[in-house]
């Protein structure tokens, strides 16, 4: 094959929109009438990945459900920056609960809708990594185990950002937080098993589990829409960089998320009923240093004497993800 003969739209399908595509083939975010689930005026920091990820996910869900959607929200940044009383940024029915019980509240909403026979109204529960992987895991596991008709979305920024960047069980090894200082013989967060909730969700064999980042909008929207095609418990884990907590430039939010995927540190895949069904291939594989270097939380690895051993261990994690989830497409022989 000397060249690609058919469809090629200058920017492929990577940009948000594209004048050469039919409107229905463009992303939800490219439409002027997208629901803008989180309105302007919210108080998230400059370049907030979570504000972006939540709008991407909810706008797609709103389109998929024809705006018949209710959200339950755990305590965390997302709740604090959108709803300082009496203002709200939410453009859909939205309920705030405690830090740890968003899944249980959503279960209750779903049960009530079922009793009322309002099957067309769908329920989303959402929270940060603290409210999901640490405090809310019991309620979440129960929601999975009962297969309640709820889509739970976790916006993972890898620490408790709202309260001042404390470590969570989603904080990666070697990352500096307020509680894992860059001092001593083994600075930053210790290496350990951590907690990767998508794998825990898959272990429950619920209908649908997926991961996504704010760097690939088309992939994210497709997964939210796919999730809405199922009834029962579903889980999407979205990687959302935090400029304040990670020490990155506010304009680099999407770039950092892209690097997390392209280095293999954050695997993007989907699973149905406990089995992986797809993986988003890495277009151009990069070494983990590309991802670590722009972040101040990893700056202690790149001092006068770089922590080569630690970087090698992080690279090993990335390589393991690539093997485990099949993130690099095998070269097709021409």
């Amino acid at each position: 094959m000397p060249f690609q003969p058919v469809k090629f739209y200058q920017t492929g399908t990577f940009t948000v929109g594209n004048r050469l595509l039919k409107p229905e083939d463009r992303s939800v975010q490219s439409h002027r009438d997208r629901s803008n689930a989180i309105n302007s005026g919210h108080r998230a920091c400059q370049g907030c990945g979570e504000a972006l990820g939540a709008r991407y996910a909810l706008d797609a869900a709103m389109e998929a459900t024809k705006s018949q959607l209710i959200a339950a929200n755990a305590t965390g940044c997302l709740e604090v920056f959108t709803t300082p009383y009496p203002e709200t940024s939410w453009q859909l029915p939205w309920m705030h609960s405690l830090f740890g019980n968003a899944a249980a509240v959503a279960t209750g909403i779903a049960a009530a809708l079922k009793v009322k026979g309002r099957n067309e109204i769908r329920v989303i529960a959402q929270g940060g990594d603290g409210g999901t992987t640490d405090i809310g895991l019991g309620c979440l596991s129960g929601m999975f185990e009962r297969n309640d008709d709820v889509l739970y979305i976790c916006y993972d920024n890898e620490a408790y950002m709202n309260t001042g960047v404390q470590r969570s069980s989603a904080t990666p090894p070697a990352a500096r937080t307020a509680t894992t200082m860059p001092v001593g013989p083994n600075p930053g967060n210790p290496f350990g098993q951590g907690k990767f909730v998508p794998a825990i969700a898959m272990a429950h064999e619920i209908p649908y589990v997926a991961t996504a980042t704010v760097a690939d909008l088309h992939d994210l929207e497709a997964k939210v829409k796919r999730a809405m095609e199922f009834r029962g418990a579903r889980y999407i884990h979205i990687f959302v960089p935090c400029p304040l907590g990670w020490g990155t430039a506010s304009h680099d939010t999407i770039r950092i998320a892209r690097l997390a995927h392209e280095t293999g540190l954050f695997p993007i895949f989907e699973a149905e009923h406990g089995l992986q069904v797809s993986a988003l291939p890495i277009r151009k594989q990069l070494p983990v240093e590309e991802y670590l270097k722009p972040q101040k939380r990893f700056a202690h690895l790149f001092g006068a004497k770089p922590e080569l051993e630690v970087i090698a261990r992080i690279q090993a994690r990335a390589d393991r993800n690539i093997r485990k989830y099949g993130l690099v497409k095998q070269q097709e022989t021409p």
């Binding site: 003969p5 090629f8 200058q10 492929g12 975010q29 490219s30 302007s40 005026g41 009496p86």
Partner: protein, 542 residues
């Protein structure tokens, strides 16, 4: 208070009350930047602009935008050495966009469909004489006609086209393409008088009541070098050889032809000799390939066709069937120096391709006109020292290519127009250039360049068929869509999508976007994620 539910004291408010724009210290602004292709085009084409229309398959609109600057796209798409592609930012990704092939496709489409230029502006009542119907003269005539002037071209030769006909061989530019594009300019209202030699420019202007003149007679007198030669040695100059190719009688070059020189003309004549049946064609050049002024594509194609090149050599004597050659070395400044080593080379004829001089005879006694180094001197407005007489193309100091000539014609036409209207032409300020590091190439799909079909080397050694083929509709569209649209918004919606604060307003098809500064916090994500570098951050006023 009474109507509210228990424990509720305030109405629900919207976060829209909170104008987060006050946090900002830097703000994003949209801008158009100058893409490198446009900056690099000697004819001043808006390449990014016409590719934009070609991408959506609107070839006629693309052709209309293209011909605002250059009336000869089918010719350009064949003979231009495309400096635009050398600087194309896509070269950093995979390979440059095939701008030249898309241009040729558009030019050929226009000929196939018979597209005509839009009607010119209101007539000015002024009359301009253009001397010479080469690329520069034709371009000037077209642009002057667009601006509403009456134009008459006086051409000394029997046919139009100048060096495009009498210098560029048919295998690079088929004559029906040249004829079609010239005819379109004449249909546009330009008068062409063939076999009309201007012997004295001032007399011609007076007798024809011309208000201004543009001289573009080119440079077509082959330079001679003194080479001691025996009585029977056959020495010709390249320009005459190429010119005679247009006549009835083919030049008699013999079986072993040596061409002396290192420019594009040397290659054209060597490739022509090969096609005329020479079994051995050797170019003798005194320096090295790196120093050779000829364009690389021409050198490559010539080598494929079996032309041989003898580097670092000068010819010091020509005999009936052989030449004496001296080997050269380059000194530290890169100039060739003789070595005293000689060799003999068999040759039936020697063609000199050592550059061309300008025929300046029509400029006798013109007051104020300055001639230096055999070329007409002009000011920044393309005007000679004589008011109302402008000049361009190969007869003024500049790179001698068709594209450069077309650019001179356009520039001169604008200054002639201003001069006739007693104004001065001030070109619009150039946009700031856009470099590769201002782009976000992640958003562009991988798409390798499509190579144009090339005629088999064997057929290229025996005939004058066109060497390079064209693209068809499908792959021309693909090639156009490889454009990165550097520095110019193409409405990909990225800024609208990636703003965490919904502070980008999408204005709708063709109207681009606007920032809502009430809410923009100045994070800069839109700038970082704009694929084509059409947004930049600027400091807020203190």
């Amino acid at each position: 208070m009474r109507d509210k539910p228990f424990a509720i004291t305030l109405d629900p408010g919207s976060s829209l009350a909170n104008h987060t724009g006050s946090w900002r210290t830097m703000k994003p602004v949209y801008l158009d930047r100058l893409p490198p292709c446009n900056a690099g085009c000697p004819a001043g084409e808006n390449i990014q602009g016409w590719l934009f229309h070609a991408e959506s398959g609107d070839y006629e609109q693309a052709w209309r935008v293209l011909t605002l600057d250059n009336p000869l796209p089918a010719i350009m798409g064949r003979v231009c050495y495309h400096p635009c592609e050398d600087v194309c930012n896509r070269g950093h990704l995979d390979s440059a966009v095939g701008i030249n092939s898309v241009e040729r496709f558009l030019g050929d489409e226009a000929i196939r469909h018979g597209w005509k230029f839009d009607e010119p502006a209101a007539t000015s009542g002024k009359k301009v004489l253009v001397v010479g119907a080469g690329p520069s003269g034709l371009s000037a005539a077209y642009h002057l006609a667009r601006l509403g002037h009456r134009v008459e071209i006086h051409e000394a030769g029997p046919l139009s086209g100048g060096m495009m006909r009498f210098g560029i061989p048919k295998y690079r530019l088929p004559r029906q393409v040249l004829d079609a594009e010239v005819a379109r300019i004449l249909d546009f209202g330009v008068t062409l008088k063939l076999d009309t030699r201007v012997t004295n420019i001032e007399d011609s202007m007076r007798s024809g009541n011309f208000d201004a003149a543009f001289l573009a007679v080119g440079a077509h007198i082959g330079k001679r070098a003194f080479i001691p030669a025996g009585d029977a040695a056959r020495i010709m100059d390249a320009v005459s050889v190429l010119r005679s190719m247009e006549g009835e009688e083919r030049p008699q070059l013999g079986r072993r032809v040596v061409v002396y020189g290192g420019g594009n003309t040397a290659l054209d004549v060597a490739r022509t000799a090969r096609r005329l049946g020479a079994t051995e064609t050797i170019i003798v050049y005194r320096r090295t390939r790196e120093k050779m002024p000829a364009h690389n594509t021409e050198v490559e194609e010539a080598l494929q066709e079996g032309v041989m090149i003898k580097w670092l050599s000068t010819i010091i004597h020509a005999g009936e069937h052989d030449l004496t050659i001296e080997k050269m070395v380059l000194d530290e400044k890169g100039y060739p120096q003789p070595t005293g080593e000689f060799e003999t080379m068999a040759a039936d004829s020697l063609v000199l391709a050592l550059g061309q001089d300008v025929d300046l005879s029509l400029l006798q006694n013109v007051a104020g006109l300055e001639i230096k180094d055999g070329m007409v001197q002009i000011d920044g407005n393309m005007m000679t020292g004589h008011p109302g007489i402008f000049a361009g193309g190969d007869m003024v100091p500049s790179e001698r290519t068709v594209t450069m000539g077309v650019g001179h014609g356009k520039k001169a036409a604008r200054h002639i127009d201003a001069w006739l209207r007693h104004r001065s032409y001030v070109p619009a300020a150039k946009h700031e250039p856009v470099t590769f590091d201002m782009l976000n190439p992640w958003y562009y799909s991988d798409a390798p360049k499509i190579m144009r079909p090339v005629l088999d080397a064997i057929r290229r050694q025996s005939g004058f068929e066109e060497v390079q083929g064209g693209l068809d509709e499908n792959n021309a569209l693909f090639e156009a869509r490889r454009c990165l649209s550097c520095g110019n918004c193409f409405e990909c919606d990225n800024c609208y999508g990636v703003c965490p604060d919904n502070s980008v307003i999408k204005l709708g098809h063709g109207k681009r976007f606007q920032i809502n500064y009430d809410y923009c916090k100045g994070c800069g994500i839109c700038v970082a994620e704009c694929p084509c570098g059409a947004i930049k951050m600027v400091p807020e006023d203190a």
